[in-house]
């Protein structure tokens, strides 16, 4: 086999049988992007960072989410379908923007291209906790919260519940015109709740439990938009304290196991819910079934203010406690929250949440780690010393798990830049696939630009106070 161009003819004819996956080793739709590298991975597939090459938008950063063909042989995953379906209808400054959808017919994969956001609340919180060691300033907390609520109010007023709000799904734009603007992301679990054909709980999806509302933990069958507001309350507290508010240990089982520990963590802080304050509590399955633990009434103290270090009389505390109201029907709505006094007092929230008032220090948040050794196939490529012959070198390292060998066998790493490999093992992004033999990778030609990212990646352990390792799956 020769280099990439030598195989054009073969690849071409193979692709034609599949309805036109591409005309060269790089599918046609991909030619509008330069792939920078992989920035995330989840059960659905991978997320890549790329830059557009099209004139007018040249150099614009794009996050490309690749959905794998589902394993059960059932085509495009329903999660991807729902996400596309909603994103195609949504347009709001505080919601992530889907700029393009691509299909690669050859390997039946689906790609969603989004405007790229450099930061997210997970990383911002972590940076403050582990690196700069001081709280996020009040302006930033308030601005991020306000924008999050603003986006959520838009979704809710359009009958969409997000259902999986957590810090890693709340993106924040980096340098550029939209710097510091919040973008709600990951609509894979989102629902239009106006007229669901099935009870909304019937999807068997497991989401992070730390941000899950008590009514869901107690077995409520129907979601309301109030579940998102509970999550916002948890995120608000986390922005203030840099620690997850209710950090329960998750019971892993299907479907929908009873998460006693998570409830216990909530009760400890908020006190036990009572039928007086939450009348419909009596109807919730787990409340009825597990009366011993749940109705046990161990905790009376309502110590939320001391957990978040707020005066019980402060507007911030008032808003937070209204978000963490047990009864979903009494819980504050996004629209009400936006009108809350907290947002009317100094410092007033602003559009650029990252740049506070003059005089205050601007926190230099790290950029997203990019694994530049993985191509769109999710395949790790080991860089040969001579870039010209990359086709051969890559094919030698393909794990051969793609299902369309004719096309992938000689695929070069598409448009990837070479980067120094230090600290690679720390990202934990590529799992076992990455550099399987521990083969030394080529030193890069362009180390300068990525130095910051490299530095950041060097410390994988970093005394993760609150977070169990591997807790995070980046979902865009």
């Amino acid at each position: 086999m020769g280099d990439g161009s030598g195989n054009r003819g073969v690849t071409h004819s193979n692709n034609n049988n599949n309805g036109g996956g591409g005309t060269s080793n790089k599918p046609e739709w991909l030619q509008q992007y330069d792939l920078i590298g992989k920035i995330g991975e989840g059960t659905y597939g991978l997320v890549f960072l790329a830059r557009t090459k099209t004139p007018g938008n040249r150099g614009k950063s794009i996050a490309i989410k690749k959905f794998k063909q589902s394993k059960d042989g059932d085509g495009v995953s329903p999660t991807a379908i729902r996400e596309i379906m909603l994103l195609r209808e949504i347009s709001h400054e505080n919601v992530v923007k889907l700029v393009n959808v691509h299909i690669n017919h050859a390997d039946m994969s689906l790609y969603l291209a989004f405007d790229y956001a450099e930061h997210d609340l997970y990383e911002i919180i972590r940076h403050h906790r582990d690196k700069v060691n001081h709280a996020i300033n009040q302006y930033t907390v308030k601005s991020l919260l306000w924008q999050l609520l603003n986006g959520l109010n838009y979704l809710h007023s359009n009958w969409i519940i997000h259902r999986d709000l957590k810090p890693s799904n709340i993106l924040v734009m980096g340098d550029g015109e939209e710097q510091g603007v919040v973008k709600i992301a990951d609509f894979g679990l989102a629902r239009i709740y106006q007229a669901p054909l099935k009870p909304l709980s019937e999807n068997g999806v497991v989401v992070t439990i730390w941000y899950r509302a008590p009514e869901l933990l107690l077995g409520a069958k129907h979601y309301t938009s109030a579940v998102d507001m509970w999550a916002v309350g948890c995120i608000f507290a986390e922005l203030l304290t840099l620690k997850p508010l209710f950090q329960g240990a998750e019971v892993k089982a299907t479907p929908n196991p009873f998460q006693l520990d998570q409830l216990d963590k909530i009760f400890k802080v908020l006190g036990h819910p009572t039928l007086e304050k939450w009348p419909t509590l009596a109807n919730l399955p787990h409340w009825q079934q597990d009366s011993q633990h749940i109705q046990g009434h161990k905790y009376d103290s309502h110590g939320l203010h001391s957990f978040v270090h707020l005066s019980p009389k402060s507007p911030a505390y008032d808003l937070l406690s209204k978000m963490l109201e047990y009864d979903p029907r009494k819980r504050i709505t996004a629209a009400q929250a936006l009108e809350h006094e907290y947002f009317r007092i100094e410092p007033l929230p602003g559009r650029n949440g990252l740049v506070p008032f003059q005089g205050e220090k601007v926190v230099n948040y790290p950029t997203r780690p990019v694994d530049t050794t993985t191509d769109f196939e999710g395949t790790t490529s080991l860089q040969p010393s001579q870039p010209v012959s990359s086709g051969n070198a890559v094919s030698g390292n393909m794990p051969g798990a793609h299902g369309v060998p004719s096309r992938n066998a000689t695929r070069p790493p598409m448009g990837m830049q070479r980067m120094p490999p230090q600290g690679m093992a720390g990202y934990n992004l590529a799992g076992g696939v990455m550099n399987p033999g521990g083969i030394p990778m080529q030193r890069g030609v362009n180390p300068q630009a990525h130095q910051q990212q490299q530095l950041r990646r060097k410390d994988p352990g970093m005394g993760m106070s609150g977070y169990p390792p591997q807790q995070k799956q980046r979902r865009m």
Binding site: P78, I81, M85, V101, H105, P196
Partner: protein, 266 residues
Amino acid sequence: MAANFWTSSHYKQLLDQEEVDVVHPLDKEKGITLAEFKLLKMHMANYIWKLATHVKVRQRVVATAVTYMRRVYTRKSLSEYDPRHVAPTCLYLAAKAEESTVQARLLVFYVKKMPTDEKFRFEIKDVLEMEMKILEAINYYLVVFHPYRSLSQLLQDAALNDISMTQLTWGLVNDTYRMDLILVHPPHLIALACIYIASVLRDKDTTSWFEELRVDMNVVKNISIEILDFYENHRINMEERLNVAMAKLGSTIHNLEILQLTPTSY
């Protein structure tokens, strides 16, 4: 937006009748006329409806599937997008979009149970490949609004929500999917046209109720006329005309099963 028709992609994508009534050049080459194009789409709608009774999905899912199919053929040719693959796959995709996922192997099983030419092959792989082609063809716009929801609300508002009127209007709405109305008109106007026809048939005086609605009655009446014309046109020689059209498409769809045409609200 997902719950507001006027800001939805559905609304923005509505077409003029003239834009819908375009036979693709590739189909034209085969001699397909506009009347035959419409007939074939109607046949596919019937097929999807029938298949859905086996697969057991809700009417809304079927309606969405038929809408996808009609949207596909506003951009693609029958010659290139084999109706025998497009029809069942639209149902498959609609089921996912409407959260009532149907397994591909189950779909294939039921497709094979439908009366069909022995030579026609339809496997899971065909569903999955066509699913992606359909997604592309409909430009990833998956949200569809249907007349059903407005229908119930409007009937209630007009105090016409007795069983007889509900059944009649519901059947009329089902039949509108045999036409391209869903591509051209807002769903609530289609619902109103069905109520209009039903109230004439059942001799209900709805004049004042319609007057109070702030809608363009000319449009409602035009839709009604279109529906009535459709019933009139499809009384006779259905099967024969369909056969002629299919023969023209030749190898592409001559195997498509011919259904007994029984519009539900004759």
